[in-house]
């Protein structure tokens, strides 16, 4: 058997497929330049090729492929938001996510777990009821359940009333899922590259060339590139890159920290979120508990971890799962979240013609990867704002027409 395997390996009959083509030199001009080779940028390149036949695309990144917030999130996917605009948008994302593995012929390990948003106060119960009604109205599976049913569906939770914040109820969202975040980006990258899009890592955009109010190219550390359209999809660096185009955004960059525990035998199938306790947790396929909390108390361009964060998070974890008291944290990291005042993203046109932004993804970006890529591609290809994206335009701040999602943005920030 090992010899047969060796023979196959050395024989030329089954050549290994290179995941991505070798890096090439930059061309002097492209139709579209996408700044940021994370999930969102790569998804946009993929849908530009698949839906619109636009393949003269360069995806540029200062670092390595999908090494920013695409690699740093906690991989939760759900659509139980608060506003009808938000629910419609994220619901389309879920529909796209479900088919992604087959579409790519590449397993993104999409796993529907059921998502519980715990309520520990009357106010949180009220918000849960509100969200459940908005969700159901728009055809999203979502309901308010009480401790008896929580115990049946998620027996690992501590439902004792003898704690600081007893669990009074939960918003239950059965389609809530997790997926392998890196695989999502790699899948998009592979197909986009197959179609002719070029992915250039270690290529930093250092300037945006603007003539007569329209973007005509970008300056990089590898020279100038001319282009017709630019899409900026750089998460925590949104303000810095937008400034190159002379734009200011309603964004504050704030770190969001996360950590994982030792691998444990599976006891938690569900995704559990508590707004009041600032915790969200799920158990990965390897058995590690993937845990996150609210954003840091102040803005910072850094991915350092702090002891304050872990003390708070793990204290609350022990209220929900007291039997974890001796379990160790083995890894920690942080991402830079681009937080907006209304906890909704900013997508679409900017005052600079042909310069589009995809930003303001704060702590809710991973779950929107497919829909955002698809709809931003539509916007780039047609020059029209899709109805689904209209509520999330930059101009909403000047029209005082925000999309308030604070009540549904993972945990109370």
């Amino acid at each position: 058997m090992p010899f047969a395997l060796l023979k196959h390996g050395l024989g030329g009959k089954y050549p290994a497929r290179r995941h991505l083509p070798k890096a090439k030199d930059l061309k002097p001009a492209y139709d579209v330049v996408i700044i940021g080779a994370g999930g969102h940028g790569l998804a946009a390149a993929y849908y530009l090729a698949r839906d619109w036949g636009i393949t003269d695309v360069a995806v540029l990144d200062k670092g390595y492929l999908a090494g920013g917030n695409t690699a740093r999130n906690t991989a939760i996917i759900r659509s139980n938001y608060l506003t009808p605009e938000g629910v419609r948008f994220y619901e389309e994302s879920l529909a796209l996510f479900r088919n992604l593995s087959e579409e790519f012929d590449y397993n993104i390990l999409y796993s529907e777990r059921g998502h519980f948003t715990l309520a520990h106060t009357d106010a949180a119960l009220r918000t849960s009821r509100w969200r459940a009604e908005v969700n159901k109205h728009l055809g999203v599976e979502s309901e308010l359940i009480y401790p008896d049913e929580i115990e049946r569906l998620c027996p690992a939770l501590n439902l004792s009333q003898d704690m600081r914040y007893p669990i009074l109820g939960a918003l239950y969202h059965p389609p809530g899922a997790i997926a392998r975040h890196d695989a999502v980006a790699w899948g998009y990258a592979r197909y986009a590259a197959d179609q002719g899009a070029e992915i250039h890592c270690n290529t930093e955009v250092q300037g945006i060339v603007i003539e007569n109010g329209a973007v005509t190219g970008v300056e990089t550390n590898r020279g100038r590139i001319a282009c017709k359209l630019v899409l900026q999809a750089v998460a925590g660096s949104s303000s810095r890159v937008a400034r190159l185009a002379g734009l200011r955004l309603p964004i504050r960059t704030i770190p969001l920290q996360a950590c994982v525990s030792l691998p444990l035998k599976r006891f938690l199938d569900q995704i559990v979120v508590s707004g009041s306790l600032h915790v969200y947790v799920s158990q990965s396929d390897r058995g590690e508990l993937v845990m996150g909390a609210s954003t840091d108390p102040y803005g910072l361009y850094s991915t350092r971890s702090t002891l304050d964060f872990k003390e708070r998070l793990l204290g609350h974890m022990l209220e929900l799962f007291p039997f974890l008291a001796n379990v160790k944290v083995v890894r920690q990291w942080a991402g830079m979240a681009d937080m907006t005042p209304d906890f909704s993203p900013i997508m679409g046109v900017t005052p600079v013609r042909n310069y589009y932004i995809d930003s303001g993804w704060g702590t809710w970006g991973f779950k929107a990867t497919p829909v955002c890529g698809k709809r931003m591609a539509e916007m780039l290809a047609t020059g029209r704002t899709p109805d689904l994206l209209h509520p999330f335009r930059l101009e909403r701040f000047f029209e005082f027409d925000q999309v308030g999602e604070k009540g549904a943005a993972s945990v109370g920030h």
Partner: protein, 100 residues
Amino acid sequence: MKILNCPLNGPRNISEFAWGGEVKAMPDPVRCNDRAWADYVFLEANAAGVVREWWCHLATSYWFVAERNTVTDEVIRTYPASELFAERVQFAARDKPGPR
């Protein structure tokens, strides 16, 4: 725990403070148009580097100004707001009461 030096209370744990965001010049709320007001309320420089920002010591409700490096997370200096605002900022009164 990180320590912040409050100009009123001396060095205290940073958990006693709330971050108030960057110091911006407020336009005259009566005379400016909606766009200028939205700009003031929502848009941020969000700079990477040394910034000047508001902080509040929660226990004493004392607002002051800090200069902090948003890349290295070093606090360079904290000082009372009176260093920036020597005089009361006077905006013109509205001509007529009621909505504009």
